[in-house]
Symmetry: C2
Subunit: 106 residues, 2 copies
DNA sequence: AAGTTATGTGACCGTTTGGTCACCTGTCAA
DNA sequence: TTGACAGGTGACCAAACGGTCACATAACTT
């Protein structure tokens, strides 16, 4: 299993993406804290966090018996850079901004 | 199955990511042309392309009996924007550039 | 010390997924 | 019109994945 394989496999599950959303909104949460937000047993959440951690999408810091989880944006940016070059980036961001503007008007 | 679910599921397979790499290098290829680059039957490749197409990562244009495939960068950019805000983006790109520089020196 | 809180492990099971095959449709060229 | 070429469909099977459970370890509290 290669590094990037771990990253994409980790992102393939909606529960794990939701965990990233939670950490994007607020970093440094514990397993128990995150568990409350999902309709799933603690074991399930722990398993998902482990997958995210092994993919490098989440980094952890121990503090006593607690394990604090942080979002690591680097792998996400690398996905971006793999298929979007500097030149294309300008067009795409402009396109997305335009789309957003049009949707707000309607 | 939501839109973004389709995108992430599509990206979860290494063969499909390789197809995106091929189209990133050169757009507008046919199934037969792409098939030559993979060690897989035509049916397998067709199935993967279909998944990429349904996810909106690849768009197609018919030309007679040929089907030309193009890479669509928009969903990739949206993944980026989901977990990297404007502020963080600067730090992350700087970090990745630095990492690349250090690796080139060694 | 004893109870509570936070997290970790390995097994288990139903579902999904990757890849192949036999067979079929549509298009171009001689 | 006959054959070659480009692509599509539905069924099938082995392997991987999501989620749960019983059980276990470690740290804080009183």
């Amino acid at each position: 299993m290669t590094d990037d394989d771990r990253v994409f496999k980790a992102l393939a599950d909606p529960s794990r993406r939701f965990l990233l959303d939670l950490l994007f909104a607020r970093d440094g949460r514990t397993l128990t804290e995150l568990e409350r937000e999902l309709e799933m047993t603690r074991f399930g959440v722990a398993k998902h966090l482990r997958v995210l951690e092994e993919a490098g999408l989440v980094v952890v810091r121990r503090s006593g018996r607690e394990k604090l989880h942080y979002l690591n944006p680097v792998p996400i940016r690398q996905i971006h850079d793999r298929w979007i070059d500097k030149f294309t980036e300008q067009h795409v961001t402009a396109l997305i901004d335009l789309k957003r503007t049009l949707e707000e008007e309607s």
